[in-house]
Homo-oligomer: 205 residues x 3
């Protein structure tokens, strides 16, 4: 439970900042930036909790979630003076959030006694769908389905987690390993433009 709490906070901070930057790129007003940061950070977990029926969603009862988003948004606003290259910072925070939230989703599934496949699905949903909702709200094409093997990264991390769990690796180590693998995997995927084996080149469709 404690571990879940810590990685949930770290993921919320990362995705709030990534969401705030994405909203700033579209030059939204101050409240717009906060709302997009909120949706980016808490949207994936909210969708997860709605689908498993864990209602009301947690951020309605616990003000700390909103507070973390607010403080992260303010931090993102203050650091914009320093930050010259938005895209790289956005990518880094996005990757860290991706790793944290995949683990949160998996933990939620394990607590509910779901199968490992459903747990990996919940991890992917928690990690990816805040960004999908963010992209839809900002009228961007959702990143997840096109490039940068976004969802694939989460699924890879999730499969690794259950392999290490099967091998009875001490859980905090397992989580740190999976987190690092997800972040590295995503950064390398973007840097070297990794893509899943595509059908289109071979077939000339």
């Amino acid at each position: 439970m404690e571990t879940v709490k810590v990685i949930e906070i770290a993921g919320t901070v990362s995705f709030s900042i990534a969401g705030a930057f994405a909203a700033m790129e579209k030059r939204l007003d101050l409240f717009g930036i906060f709302i997009v940061a909120f949706v980016a950070a808490l949207g994936g977990g909210t969708l997860r909790d709605v689908l498993i029926g864990d209602l009301p969603v947690k951020w309605m009862l616990d003000m700390n979630y909103g507070l973390i988003v607010l403080l992260s948004t303010i931090a993102a606003l203050l650091f914009t003076r320093v930050i010259l290259n938005y895209h790289k910072i956005l990518l880094l925070f996005d990757s860290i959030g991706l790793g944290f939230f995949t683990l949160v989703g998996i933990q939620t599934g394990i607590t509910l006694g779901f199968s490992s496949i459903t747990c990996i699905g919940l991890g992917t949903m928690t990690a990816c769908f805040g960004g999908v909702i963010r992209d839809i709200l900002l009228n961007n094409i959702p990143l997840i389905f096109e490039k940068e093997i976004y969802a694939t990264t989460c699924i890879t991390g999730g499969v690794l987690f259950f392999m290490l769990r099967y091998l009875e690796v001490y859980q905090p180590y397992n989580e740190i390993i999976c987190l690092l693998v997800i972040v590295l995997f995503r950064l390398l995927a973007v840097k070297y433009d990794w893509q899943l084996p595509s059908l289109w080149n071979q077939r000339n469709l």
Copy 2:
């Protein structure tokens, strides 16, 4: 409870008409217009009820919601002959709906014993997210995050409500004041192109 009922009906009528006009502008067919009106009117409240876990959503059990949307849509269709300027009428109904639904969301939160911040959030969600879903369905850029300080208007009205409530103003008066403030605030914001203090001009990003 009675007050909630009345403002809920008035808000549903306003947002149905606003939704029907938005759909007519995109020249949807008759059922398309009805569905967009339905989503615009009941989408925000539906999202609110899903997130607080008040299910099944009310319009499934109570046919009156659908009936109000249907009658409002028919009214919107009949009045199009008279109405020459869509945008101003759309704006007026949208502003009235915005005020009513902010109050409905706040009342829902108070009934559930939520904190005033969560109540203001629920009011903003109830008022704004029907329009967001409407815009997404019509493939428009959601208005809420860009101009016209849409969400800000609801938050301002919500903060005012809890300030007057703290001062123990008689609730129906409080609601009428907040409703008028929200409608006026929004109309003035559009007329004079009010925007939140923007970071972009000062920093030349």
Copy 3:
């Protein structure tokens, strides 16, 4: 119950294949294709179950749903070599899924004792909103509200179902008739470009 099961599987297969083809047209990667197929097939039913509060959604507890989508996606990938004309195949599968899912939604509503109007609404939602979410994710304009009287087809099928039910037609016959009517109605609507009586031509808006 058994009937519901069979038509649910057939609908899932049809919509998965239609979703996979739509994703292939946008040249998504392999996991992207699977996820869009999943959303297209199970999104409408998921929205229905969320709104009626039947949680956790079924595909989290029953792996067979995900498996059916996976196998359908693989089938869609393998058949692309053979299929030259995407649009017609996509349309056929989409129409069959439309019919099946309308019936699933109606059955769900009947089981819960909802009114016939709510049942028709649930059928239309189950059938149409997977496609709406698919279109939003692929950044397409949702088909439902514009052409091809998509939702109208489901509503027509639903009204027919309750008329035949009122006349005490044997239910499996009723379902087969409604399914065929929906599929034919949609295919003819696309072929002959049927549209609802439009207000725009007469009024020169």
